[in-house]
Amino acid sequence: MKEVLLIKNGELALKGMNRRTFEEMLIKNMRRRLESLGGFTFTTAQSTIMAEPLRADCDLEEAAERLKKVFGIAGFSRAAAVEKKMSVILRAAEEYLAPELLAARTFKVEAKRSDKQFPLRSPEICAEVGGYLLRKYPHLTVDVHNPDLTVTVEVRDAYAFIHGKQIKGAGGMPTASAGRAALLISGGIDSPVAGYMLAKRGLELVAVHFASPPYTSERAEQKVCSLLKQVAKYSGRIALYIVPFTEIQEQIKDHCPEEIFTVIMRRMMMRIAQTLAVRERCGALITGESVGQVASQTLPALACTDAVCSIPVFRPLIGMDKDEVVAISRRIETFEISILPYEDCCTVFTPRHPRTRPTLDYVARCEQALEIDALAQRALENVRFMQIRAY
């Protein structure tokens, strides 16, 4: 029996003239994500996409696991695809859904007939399949309101499909359908969550990480790669730029007042990230900041940081509590990686008493001690690039 995946796209069905473009993006994303499992062919009909494995030994269990994390999918099912003949359909329902039917006590049958040439109408299909299953599984009773199992039969162009329960998809919009944005990632709990949230809205991620050897270690970099690999299961592949940041931090440390260190550092990060973002055709920056979480995330400090940016800065966690962020990071399985104890660039040289209400004027004056453009230029010249893939 041939087994396929039937994918229902979510919000996309509401789009107008450009729906096809969105669907094509979704298919492209799914194709990439499933590639290493041996390849699939995709066909679309009436807001359902059918993914048919090219190889009979394809690991559909793993394919389903991966699809759960692809944005733009409302739900999907694993289905048996069989010849459009009633006798075949009956037998397939009996065999293919045997484990579910044995475990259920009540069930109902739903039928959809988009091929109007098929001799039976939907209610007739329901009645026949229902009656047949009742004879084969006498322990079952029919409950149309609250069944343990809903058996769905869909008669479409090429096949009749039989499936049990639908699996919930990740929702959101297909990655890249909303453009690209550059995520500043340190290695903490927040930034992977921020990236995940905006990838969910269809942004393709480019990541920028600042490394300060010897203050930060190789392990810290590996940690960022592991985090992004996990995020990439949702967002698709991520281009990662690693920016050498030691000189800049040392210069700030040596020439600027300690109390303002972090704000000036954040501004340098934003300048560099923005240059990379523009180079990578990104329309925005993404950070994991949340109002009031630390001294550099007070309103005046955020204003000072924003002042160096000419593209929008998205902060999806801005109004969230730490526990809410932690809950998401646990769900997307980045939490355990985030709490590894390696020092990251944000904790190097943390001032003992940071200023919580810096003024732009003061910050700009302090920055005059630095050769901002030259420092940024040197860092950008030595940027390293890596492509992060989930599978």
Partner: protein, 376 residues
């Protein structure tokens, strides 16, 4: 090229061990429990290995169980002894600076209703014998103490435990975690007066994944795992023969402890002497500690950048113990060292093959790191 100063974390396997492991994987690969030629050969290798390790420890082969390493040995000893004697009393005496594999087993026992007394060390990691005498009472069922501390190298008064137990007329078993001491100091259990002793292979140039637990003839403990007759039913499961053979070969290759000790003491003195010339450097290890371990701090230069800088220059050291991957050291906190010293603590640990040239390289590296790293 690299210079390795993290021998308390693990040591490079010696050629003898690698050779013996290879042989156990290719020639003598049988299951010691099998009753045929290949099994018999493996059984002979197992008993031969047991004799070799027993000889290095200074006990009878029948008193030795192979385990998967220090952590399992410590768990089995601490939990197994406490359960064995739980009807005789509830008190356990230990110290605040034990390895996590003892400390966390003790926390488990506390949760089950045992009372754990942890002796407090002084600033250089010494435990007072008097405190030990005061802590052991009639209800004490276990005294567990490491012979050498893994982070600063202090030597603990294990031999006093026996006298404390006798004078208190306690039913206690005495366990010693000798993972850091084995191969470096004489550890003969009868001489130390202990009933249980844990050792590990990969700290003496053997493979990882194997260790041994000494169990004095006549002493009994409860098993922690079940399912076979191996290792007197205390450590069931098919014996990992390649690892065991490697362990035995490494034990045979151990030099006479006092020769190596003299040599490493000279290295340690050379190192500490020149280290003190670096501005601000403080040695946290006691002068009478095991010379294989030197813990020092340069206040203001945090451990992590120091490690990273040295690592980038091919020099391997450690901050605290390798088991905790950069978390704040529990042991150093217990020693009540000032925060600035704890934040900048670095552990270097030598082996019998460490050379003076390597130590010079290390000293240069430390000086260069201090110059390069901005303090905060």
């Amino acid at each position: 090229m690299y210079a390795y100063f993290d021998n308390s974390a693990t040591t490079a396997p010696c050629p003898e061990a690698v050779e013996a492991m290879h042989r156990a994987l290719t020639v003598c690969w049988g299951n010691p429990s099998s009753l045929h030629g290949i099994g018999n050969a493996a059984q002979a290798l197992l008993e031969d290995s047991r004799a070799a390790v027993a000889n290095a420890i200074g006990c009878e082969p029948t008193e030795l169980l192979f385990t998967s390493g220090g952590t399992e040995g410590n768990n089995l000893a601490v939990l197994g002894a406490a359960y064995q004697l739980r009807r005789m009393g509830r008190r356990i005496v230990s110290t605040e600076i034990e390895h996590a594999s003892v400390e966390e087993a003790l926390q488990q026992l506390e949760a089950e209703g045992f009372e754990v007394i942890r002796l407090h060390p002084d600033r250089s990691g010494h435990i007072s014998e008097r405190a030990l005498y005061n802590a052991v009472d009639r209800q004490t069922v276990l005294v567990t103490m490491m012979l050498v501390n893994n982070e600063i190298g202090s030597i603990l008064p294990v031999a006093a435990a026996k006298r404390a137990v006798l004078s208190a007329r306690a039913p206690a078993l005495i366990h010693c975690d000798a993972v850091q001491a084995f191969g470096k100091l004489p550890v003969r259990p009868a001489r130390l007066g202990v009933d249980l002793m844990t050792v590990s292979a990969h700290k003496i140039h053997g493979p990882k994944g194997v260790g041994a637990l000494y169990l004095r003839k006549g002493a009994r403990i409860h098993p922690r795992s079940f399912g076979g007759e191996q290792e007197r039913k205390l450590r069931p499961g098919t014996e990992p023969m390649p690892a065991i053979a490697g362990f035995a070969a490494a034990a045979r290759a151990l030099p006479e402890p006092n020769t190596a000790l003299t040599q490493v003491t000279a290295l340690r003195d050379y190192f500490c002497d020149r280290l003190s010339a670096i501005d601000g450097a403080v040695v946290n290890s006691p002068a009478d500690g095991l010379p294989y371990i030197v813990n020092f701090s340069i206040p203001g230069v945090k451990s992590e950048p120091m490690l990273n800088y040295l690592s980038a220059n091919g020099i391997c050291v450690s901050g605290g113990s390798a088991c905790s991957k950069g978390k704040k050291s529990r042991v150093l906190t217990r020693l009540e060292l000032p925060q600035a010293l704890i934040d900048s603590a670095v552990r270097v640990s030598f082996s019998r093959s460490t050379t003076l040239q390597e130590i010079d390289l290390l000293l240069q590296g430390i000086a260069a790191a201090k110059a390069a790293i901005r303090s905060r």
